[in-house]
Symmetry: C2
Subunit: 193 residues, 2 copies
DNA sequence: CAAAATAATACGATCGTTCGTACTTGTCAA
DNA sequence: TTGACAAGTACGAACGATCGTATTATTTTG
């Protein structure tokens, strides 16, 4: 009973890494089998289709994301410290994966590819944006932000900033990207105080 | 002499559309042949490798981008009006393509795929960022922005905003995205006045 | 007619998937 | 305690399709 779970876990770990490098759509069952030193058919048996494999990779990544980005941020003091922690964690998350955040790359990959994978991805993105909004709400609650702010607007601006960092970090190798992001974040938050 | 050019142009047009839908790496010679009602080999003869095809698609897109985004913005009055025009044009550019801006999707596609394609892409991104900086410089020149601003920082923030719009537009179907982007742009520019 | 443009055909590789088959487990009746 | 049996797990081989590419023919054009 436990053997299968272990193997699957290992496959998903390798799948996550491969996704980050080449994108979710380019993760091939053959290549993943080679990376895990398994046979194509043996690996395939754990999922029943490539679509399922993609979805399971996304769900696995979401689990890790929650654990290493969201939960620890909720440990931080509500308000601006929590926002800073969340951004910090997100940047660590995106930097640790070889090719950047897989949700970002998968989102562009599947922007025009209808199907279950896209639906899963879409819900995950919505949950992430909800998370950004709730964190702004708690900042209002503790008085770090004023009361009449637009949560949607805040989430949009903060997420944009992370996406900008992501592209700069993965494509251009500008050394000052981190500084730009910090400056922009400070200004962003100033607008909501 | 002219027949070949015409055909190539038609292929690149179809290739651009396909790239926007499925991403540059998933544009297949077979699929592109089918879309243009040509034979695989006939199409292939115009490029000598898939890598060349990808590069030519990117260059073709860059030509169109310059024509429909950058040049008309330079017609606008320098300063804030020109920035607004550039953003407006970029959004139209990204909205007209079925699956969004191909430079954005290609950048995430090739973030971890070394080779000539990535190099071309990287240079195009740098040129775009240069363009954003120059437009900020002209805003300083006409007095719309103050003199001690950081051009790198401005480009980073503006590009981030566009990337945020891009993800919201292609993935989520939020009706208020446009409004969020406009609000954010106004605030962004306020910070540099 | 020569040259340029397109097609036909074929290549080895890999794609996602299916099938039959081993080898390992754990369960339960004898 | 053993033996039979089901379930779980992995494998090799093979399927038709498609991948990128090369060679060779045919058509179209100037």
């Amino acid at each position: 009973m436990t053997k299968g779970k272990d193997t699957k876990h290992m496959i998903l770990e390798a799948g996550l890494d491969m996704t980050s490098k080449v994108g979710l759509e380019s993760v091939t069952i053959g290549a993943l089998a080679k990376a895990t030193k398994m046979s194509k058919s043996g690996l395939f048996a754990h999922f029943q289709s490539k679509e399922n494999l993609q979805i399971e990779i996304l769900n696995y990544a979401a689990h890790l994301f929650s654990e290493s980005v969201i939960v620890p941020a909720l440990m931080a003091e509500a308000g601006i410290p929590r926002i800073k922690a969340l951004v910090e964690n997100w940047i660590r998350w995106a930097s640790e994966l070889t090719g950047g955040c897989i949700f970002v790359s998968a989102s562009t990959d599947f922007s025009d590819r209808p199907g279950k994978v896209r639906e899963v991805l879409l819900q995950q993105q919505n949950e992430w944006i909800d998370c950004l909004q709730r964190i702004a709400q708690s900042a209002v609650r503790v008085g770090d932000f004023r009361e009449d702010i637009d949560y949607d607007q805040f989430a949009f601006e903060l997420y944009s900033l992370l996406l900008g960092f992501h592209l700069y970090y993965t494509m251009l190798n500008e050394s000052e990207t981190r500084k730009h992001q910090e400056t922009a974040l400070d200004r962003l938050m100033d607008n909501y105080k």
